[in-house]
């Protein structure tokens, strides 16, 4: 059966039309990723209007191409100009730029490109093996568990996406509120319409998303007139650079432990809702530096300083796809957009997604593998295209893309109200950005609002009373598991802020691990009981380790920031 599905998926992915679309997607992603201020999310968001005219396989494969291309594209500008193309490549710049500046730009690019490739392939293998298994665990979830999972996704997004937790949570709640406008899914009752037809119909998810993210991002990019009128960057020195493939591969193979460690960090970060490549590349860089015998050379052009972030950021994509495909929960904003693309094709991501849509699911797996090979092939070509594109001033790009957004949004449902929605949420998004509110929680709120309400409704219906519902929430193991994670994720910003100064932070990790062992004990099966005992052992080890240091905090253990 699996082989049959793989064969079907191979047939769909390797169709000439799909291959052309994927190549275009990877190319667009590589170029978009290399332009500072033009994030991967925006590139994927802008691909969305095209996908409605394609089959589900073609649409998703193209978006995966853009995603993978974007993750790898950021390294080009980071290495050649010192300005990272995307937040996912910030740490790459720390060593990539000095190495390129020392007269070896081709070698630096080669290391970056091939590290991206190996990190991506590593996560693709984990995606294929883990997603179906995680989906079988997801089948155990009842509505209480799903509701708690959504709460966790929102709290961790709020705590990771900005400096102010309160603003992150408010943004998430605004997103949830936006999703309630219009007709209620369960009872068919109109809500918050204020007598307006447009509000009575509710907002389509995609125009909201494009308005919040792309429209507001473009306006932020052109805010300063002088900067907007200049070419995107000066990359004149990069002419004639040739990627040193063979030397790079040999170097990376020698540092295979770094590749594996960084890829694992990337996959794990991707699995967590909302934690994307912007976090994983810095985490992996930090771990590589700690593990290296030449840590003092980091920042001067050390190859391990390029391998770690580039392996990690591509591996993050695989992790995010695992969460999306196995649980129907977006791992980050990019997969939230992909979830939107699935909805366009009437495919509902859930734990039964892989079973219900095997051809599409396996096509996603194969497309993710294939995108990395295309990325390698297109890198040299895109290096030339990058040098041309960066000569365009930002205001020109922004004006053209704004019209493209309007046309694309109209194309989704063929109604002009969607362009108004784009406009309104463009204003909202820009305002929120200026006021310091992170947009990721709001976007996730809009995406997950319906899922949360539907599962809350189901849970309340089954539990029959409010008290019984609350009891079910804390006595069902998976629900309790996610509620514990949600509670700790709310505390995480405080832990991050004080972990080099306050003693209580020493107990935060062991307490989390210990708390998670409780729902594991409540679950059926010997394996989970063993895992629970394992978690207690880890908690004990962490306490003993801290005790040996006299429960003192490490002053050097400062929170990681992009400027670290």
């Amino acid at each position: 059966m699996i082989l049959e599905n793989i064969a079907l998926a191979f047939g769909a992915v390797f169709e000439l039309r799909n291959l052309i679309l994927m190549t275009l997607g990877v190319t667009a992603g590589l170029i978009a990723g290399s332009i500072p201020g033009f994030t991967i999310t925006m590139a994927v968001v802008l691909t969305l209007p095209f996908t409605f005219g394609l089959t589900a396989v073609e649409g998703l494969a193209t978006m995966i191409g853009v995603f993978v291309g974007g993750l790898s594209g950021g390294l080009m500008s980071g290495m050649l100009t010192g300005i990272p193309g995307t937040p996912s490549s910030i740490a790459t710049t720390f060593d990539g730029f000095p190495l390129a500046r020392s007269g070896r730009p081709g070698y630096a690019l080669g290391i970056g490109v091939w590290s991206s490739f190996f990190g991506g392939i590593f996560s693709a293998v984990l995606l294929v093996t883990l997603a179906p298994r995680l989906a079988t665990i997801g089948l155990e979830f009842g509505p209480w568990d799903y509701f708690a999972l959504v709460l966790f996704a929102l709290t961790i997004t709020a705590s990771l996406s900005g400096e102010t937790l309160i603003k992150g949570i408010i943004a998430g709640m605004l997103g949830l509120l936006v999703a309630t406008i219009g007709e209620d899914d369960v009872n068919g009752v109109e809500r918050f319409s204020f007598g307006n037809d447009m509000l009575a119909n509710g907002f389509s998810f995609l125009p909201v998303l494009i308005g919040l993210f792309a429209f507001s991002q473009l306006l932020s990019d052109i805010q300063d007139t002088e900067t907007a009128r200049k070419p995107l960057m000066e990359a004149g020195d990069a002419k004639g650079v040739k990627v040193e493939h063979w030397n790079a591969i040999k170097t990376i193979v020698k540092s295979w432990t770094n590749v594996v460690r960084s890829s694992l960090i990337g996959v794990f970060t991707g699995i967590l809702p909302a934690a994307g490549g912007s976090i994983s590349n810095i985490l992996a860089y930090d771990q590589a530096k700690k593990a290296s015998k030449e840590s003092d050379k980091f920042g001067t052009g050390h190859v391990d300083g390029i391998i770690a972030p580039e392996s990690a950021n591509n591996a993050t994509a695989g992790g995010a796809l695992i969460t999306m495909m196995a649980l129907g929960i977006p791992g980050d904003v990019v997969t939230a957009v992909m979830l939107g693309a699935l909805l366009i094709h009437n495919v509902q991501p859930s734990p039964t997604f892989i079973i219900d849509n095997p051809e599409l699911a396996y096509s996603i797996f194969i497309a993710f593998f294939l995108a990395h090979f295309i990325m390698i092939g297109m890198q040299s070509f895109c290096l030339r295209a990058f040098l041309l594109v960066v000569r365009i001033p930002m205001y020109t790009l922004a004006c053209v893309i704004l019209v493209y957004c309007a046309i694309g949004v109209f194309a989704l449902n063929n109604i002009q109200d969607d362009i108004w929605t784009l406009f309104i949420f463009g204003i909202v998004g820009y305002g929120l950005r200026l006021l310091g509110f992170p947009l990721a929680p709001m976007i996730l709120g809009v995406v997950l609002g319906h899922v949360a309400e539907l599962n809350l409704n189901r849970a309340v219906t089954i539990s029959t009373t409010g008290d019984q519902f609350l009891l079910d929430m804390i006595t069902r193991p998976w629900s309790l598991f996610f509620l514990i994670l949600a509670s700790f994720s709310l505390m995480f910003p405080f832990y991050q802020k004080h972990r080099s100064s306050k003693t209580w932070t020493v107990f935060f990790p062991p307490l989390l691990v210990l708390a998670l062992s409780i729902p594991m004990f409540m679950m059926d099966g010997m394996v989970r009981t063993v895992i629970a005992f394992g978690l207690i052992a880890i908690a004990g080890y962490l306490v003993v380790k801290a005790g040996r240091r006299g429960f003192r905090v490490d002053p050097d253990d400062t929170p990681l920031t992009p400027t670290a």
Partner: protein, 163 residues
């Protein structure tokens, strides 16, 4: 005492929450529903109210950062800072209002041309370049969506009357 930006934002959020709460009490309650349609929005609004109040408390008790104080601008300076965003919003609004008459092809071309001309440097040469960019970019997008993706974009009364 200077009122910080977050204080104003939090007060506005609380007012918005109150308005929405009031609207939520008017949501129809159906006899067949296990959970009334107003319950979920009201849960969100309670949360929004609590966190807006926390934001207000935080804004009132926290000293405004020095850069924020230095950042206080008069109306003219504010207008200058957000000039480009305002231009785009006004032009986009006009584009939307005139869309039924001008249609996507003409309306979008005019929008791109005006936006480029107002945001970019003003010279006869640049006006020409902007006109070419507007015609080329919108023309290509219009053709892709119309002929390759078979989307019927708004034609507008002007073009409709011509045929």
């Amino acid at each position: 005492m200077a009122v910080s930006r977050d204080t104003i934002v939090a007060i506005l959020l609380l007012a918005f929450t109150a308005l929405m709460w009031n609207a939520s009490t008017e949501i129809e309650i159906t006899p067949y529903a296990t959970m009334a349609s107003s319950v979920w929005p009201q849960i969100i609004l309670v949360g929004l109210g609590i966190f807006s109040a926390l934001l207000l408390a935080q804004a009132v008790t926290t000293k405004a950062p020095a850069e924020f104080k230095a950042d206080r601008l008069g109306p003219a300076a504010l207008l200058a800072r957000y000039r480009n965003a305002l231009i785009i919003y006004v032009l986009f609004f006009l584009f939307l209002i005139t869309l039924p008459y001008l249609g996507m092809l003409i309306g979008a071309t005019i929008f791109v041309f005006l936006a480029l001309t107002l945001l970019g440097r003003l010279s006869p040469r640049m006006v020409g370049v902007h006109a070419l960019i507007a015609l080329g970019s919108v023309g290509v997008m219009w053709a892709i969506f119309t002929y390759a993706l078979h989307v019927i974009l708004p034609q507008g009364e002007i073009l409709s009357n011509m045929y």
